[in-house]
């Protein structure tokens, strides 16, 4: 396995995603339901998926191009869903706090 800049960036991404995973699971116990709780379950699932997906990053160089394209498109797709949920959640919080 070749250690280069891409590998280092990839490992950094994995590390940060594992921190995200720890935090999203830790906060779950404090968010049992409500407006945030509903989104939190989906966000937790997405972070788990991301964390699992990111773990393959160190092996990207050994994968066929078609597999890489599928993986990247899936990461982009679920990334877009994650952003959508986050924006809607923030909107819901602002709406609730403004009422």
């Amino acid at each position: 396995m070749k250690v280069d800049l891409i590998m280092i960036v990839g490992l950094g991404a994995v590390f940060i995603m594992l921190i995200n995973l720890f935090q999203v699971v830790s906060l779950k116990s404090r968010i049992s339901g409500g407006v945030v709780g509903r989104s939190w379950n989906v966000m937790t699932l997405l972070v788990v998926l991301f964390a699992a997906g990111y773990l393959i990053l160190p092996f990207l160089a050994t994968m066929p191009v078609e597999t890489l394209r599928v993986i990247v498109s899936l990461i982009l797709f679920f990334g877009a869903i994650y952003v959508l949920i986050t924006i809607r959640l923030i909107y819901g919080i602002i709406k609730e706090l403004s009422s």
Partner: protein, 161 residues
Amino acid sequence: MADLQAVYARTQAGLQEIKARALHLTREQRNLLIVIDGKSALGSFAKIAGCAPEQMGEVVAPLVRHGLIAAVGGAPSPPAAPGASTTGQRQAGASAQALIALAEQIFGAHAGPVVRKLEKAGSSAAELRAAAESGAKLAKLTIDENKARLFLAEALKLIEG
């Protein structure tokens, strides 16, 4: 079996018991003591007290015996409790504990953040109302929207006496 149409009001001793927890009431008795408002029929509290209507007699009898609640005979507002202060400040002080107990009752193990908000609140009715509304918003966001609505409705009843 208790008259489910009877109206009971909390006495000053009842307010003190909410704060002091000295009598080791059952959960149903404590729930009823917290929510009873001197306006609504006894039967309407069965669900929130956590018992069947036919069990209300067993729940209400010890509260009456200890002088924590008293029948108001259908009067629209509760009688002045013996020794009760007429200042809003003292009434609100007693209500702060009642609000915390109410939050613990409704939100159970998840009540912590709401309770902390109520503990930080001032003692006036306006401050308690603001804390209750803030706590209800927090609960709506992070605990349960229906429970948050129930908490706010019951909290406002307690604050407004």
